[in-house]
Amino acid sequence: MKRNASLMLVFLAVVAMSGGAEANCAEGNYYGTDVMGRTVVVCLLGQVYSYDACTFQGGLIRENVETGEVVRLADHHDAEQDTEQDAEQGECCVDECVPPGTYRYGLVEPFDCIGAACGGTPFYEEVEVEDHNLACSLSEDNPGTTAYDGDPPWHGDGDGMVCESVYSDGPFGCMVAQPGARAVFGFNALFAALGLSVLLARRLRRRG
């Protein structure tokens, strides 16, 4: 009975690992933003975490949700900027002196759809700038935003998503979708089964 249980664990481990090996890379791409007064810091997170947010895929644009005005962000970074987002490996783009309002920040060329990514792939990240302090000056090396003539790629798309996840957004659905999750759990089950088998055999020998 106990031997059968151990064998079952091994079988499940092999099944899990074979399923996991087929999984595609499923870490999604998304934006990380931080609003500090009238400064908005935008970072690229996920698979694209190491890229420069100001220049990647055409750079970043900002749309005023109320007025529809669209501007292109300057190629401006600040390594000293304290941001809640993880900017250790990529350069975040810093948008200074943003007037109060609601804005959408997104890439000119949006992220490629990663269907397996939990939470889907977004076109933009929406932020609120609430600081009404009129006194604001750009940093010396910041040329400021420039007008953007085209339409943001998210126009015509109602939900702000390049695509939704093909898996359920719930925790157990995403657990299955995570890259290599089944491979990792399968290997650990095998490892545990080996240990458990020997422990049980040892115990049976002592009783015998």
Partner: protein
């Protein structure tokens, strides 16, 4: 070192140390220290060695997690008194599965 990284490490330790200590309950203090040390080393290696070298997120996750389970299992086997390889395998696999699973939530 980022705040997010330290939080991830602390969470991993909070999950794995009690599991390993419970698996070796007779020498729980010794194994708790061994777990904390080994897990910290594998966590650092995973994020600062494996991740930059991995060609994809899939490779990073699978190689890193398997490495952690195997290395930690070996450490527990060597540190345990009396030496208990199967218990070490079981403890490492269970602890790593729980922390990996928590990280997916």
């Amino acid at each position: 070192m980022g705040e997010h990284y330290l939080l991830a490490l602390a969470t991993t330790l909070a999950i794995e140390v009690p599991v390993v200590a419970a698996a070796f309950f007779r020498t729980w203090w010794r194994m708790a220290i061994a777990c904390a040390a080994a897990t910290t080393c594998t966590h650092l290696a995973m994020h600062f060695v494996v991740r930059p070298l991995a060609g994809s997120h899939l490779v990073f996750i699978v190689v890193g997690e398997v490495m952690a389970t195997v290395v930690e299992g070996v450490v527990y086997a060597l540190v345990s008194r009396p030496r208990d390889l199967p218990r070490a395998f079981l403890a490492s696999a269970l602890a790593n599965s729980l922390s990996f699973g928590f990280g997916l939530l």
